[in-house]
């Protein structure tokens, strides 16, 4: 048996106890276990779980449990851990044009973004969480709960990190490491409109920093299989879980292309490699 065959078979062990394997997968797993002591041992060790999950009612009961949203999905960590670092080199190669535009409260339907800041060519796409489900095709996935404090600690280690500013550009906004400030913007009372026109880039995560130093995840609340962001346009989010706190800034984390925001391992690697771009916009009172 080749190492590759053995490794392929090892990937199937997780399907053993849950009775997930198709006949050919089962045969491949057992054939490999006959030739490999470690794999055989893994299956023996898996046997109590196999026996436990023999109970179909239990399997379905557990599956029903998993349909519920786990508690603690709001990401919260202390502000001092948010020492954002972005490689200077990113400025030269930055391919993201992104902007964070503040929205007047919801009395301005369809976005209401400041026209002097928003990208006129951007297609408005309303992704208010409550309206996410019905329109977009493709199966829905839940967003991974990332261990952001640990990730940010990794980002701290990237040298040359100065806070990234967001400047107005031809296509939405261009991020750079310029020290020039774009000034503060008024804090939203109830909603944020975000114009994002990525020329190239991956999944995006928007968080808001509250006045007590904690952070809340603003966007997305859910992600889809194909993409988590429209190719360009405006999204609206309503800050939730603030519980009376006030947002003092918003930060946009842009993952490299190909990194799935729902894949914790991949996201962690991206942080470790300094490949995550962090854009920040401070909000005034």
């Amino acid at each position: 048996m080749t190492d590759q065959t053995r490794e392929d078979a090892r990937m199937l062990v997780g399907g053993h106890a849950t009775r997930t394997l198709a006949p050919e997968e089962r045969r491949a797993l057992y054939a490999a276990a006959l030739e490999d002591d470690q794999l055989f041992a893994e299956l023996v060790d898996e046997q109590p779980l196999y026996d436990l999950l023999e109970d179909r009612d239990l399997r379905l009961d557990l599956a029903a449990d998993l349909k519920e949203t786990p508690r603690g999905r709001v990401l919260a960590w202390r502000l001092p851990q948010w020492q954002i670092a972005v490689p200077l080199a990113a400025a030269a190669t930055l391919v993201i044009a992104a902007g964070v535009v503040l929205l007047q409260p919801p009395s301005t339907p369809g976005g209401g973004a400041d026209s002097t800041l928003a990208d006129d060519t951007a297609r408005p796409v309303d992704l208010e969480p409550a309206e996410l489900t019905p329109e977009q095709p493709g199966p829905e996935r839940q967003l991974a709960v990332l261990d952001l404090p640990a990730l940010i600690a990794t980002a701290d280690a990237v040298p040359g990190g100065s806070e990234l500013q967001i400047e107005s550009g031809d296509s939405g906004f261009r991020a750079s490491t310029s020290s020039k400030s774009v000034g503060d913007s008024p804090a939203p009372s109830s909603g944020l409109a975000i114009t994002i026109a990525p020329v190239e880039g991956g999944d995006v995560l928007l968080v808001g920093i509250a006045d007590d130093g904690t952070a809340v995840q603003l966007y997305p609340e859910r992600v889809r299989a194909a993409e988590s962001l429209p190719p360009g346009g405006q999204v609206r989010v309503t800050p939730r879980n603030l519980d009376g706190r006030r947002l003092v800034s918003v930060r946009l984390l842009v993952l490299p292309p190909g990194v799935d925001i729902a894949d914790d391992d991949a996201v962690r690697d991206a942080f470790a490699n300094g490949a995550v771009t962090v854009l920040e916009r401070r909000l005034s009172r």
Binding site: M11, V44, G138, Q142
Partner: protein, 182 residues
């Protein structure tokens, strides 16, 4: 006709040599857990059961999972016997299988307790899964195949689903250990 000698060697093996290869694996596994002396006895016990009680099982898909179940049972019994010195009565494997099939599972109180503990720990660990792992595991428990999970979750290939599941299994194992070990 197949027979097993005192060392567990299979004299006449099934056409594809499954039993002989099982003997090697079982012996290696048992030796790694309970030592070589006990490993020979345990291997012999398992093979004897396979040959004498289950002569109709000749296919790899039948023999391997059955052997794994017996090995795990024998190992568990061996460990208990070792702990409870002087006690050497253990239920016959056939009895265990029969009681499970009759829905009076885990009649042995100690096994029942272990099962209850595992069930509680497993439920606790599963509930802590998040993101993709939560969805993958839910779909598995609902009875979907990996191919169906691929479609459901829009994975680029079935290998991607295998990889996700592999990683999720490791996460679940870690959560199980946090919940009290397995």
């Amino acid at each position: 006709m197949t027979s097993v000698d005192r060392t567990g060697s299979v004299k006449t093996v099934a056409a594809d040599g499954v039993l002989e290869r099982l003997r090697v694996r079982i012996r290696a596994f048992a030796a790694s857990r309970v030592g070589m002396d006990a490993a020979d006895d345990l291997t012999q016990d398992v093979l004897l059961l396979l040959v004498t009680k289950y002569p109709d099982k000749t296919e790899l898909e039948d023999l391997v999972p059955l052997a794994i179940r017996i090995v795990q049972f024998k190992m568990s019994s061996f460990t208990r016997k070792r702990v409870r010195r002087g006690e050497h009565v253990q239920p016959d494997f056939d009895t265990v299988v029969a009681t499970r099939q009759s829905d009076d599972q885990w009649a042995d109180p100690e096994s029942q307790a272990e099962r209850r503990q595992l069930r509680a720990r497993f439920r606790q660990a599963v509930r802590q899964l998040d993101g993709r792992c939560r969805n993958v595991f839910r779909l598995k428990l609902e009875g979907r195949s990996f191919a169906e999970i691929r479609t459901e979750m829009g994975a680029p290939s079935i290998n991607a689903v295998y990889l996700w599941d592999h990683r999720c299994r490791h996460k679940l194992k870690a959560l199980l250990e946090e919940a009290g070990g397995r």
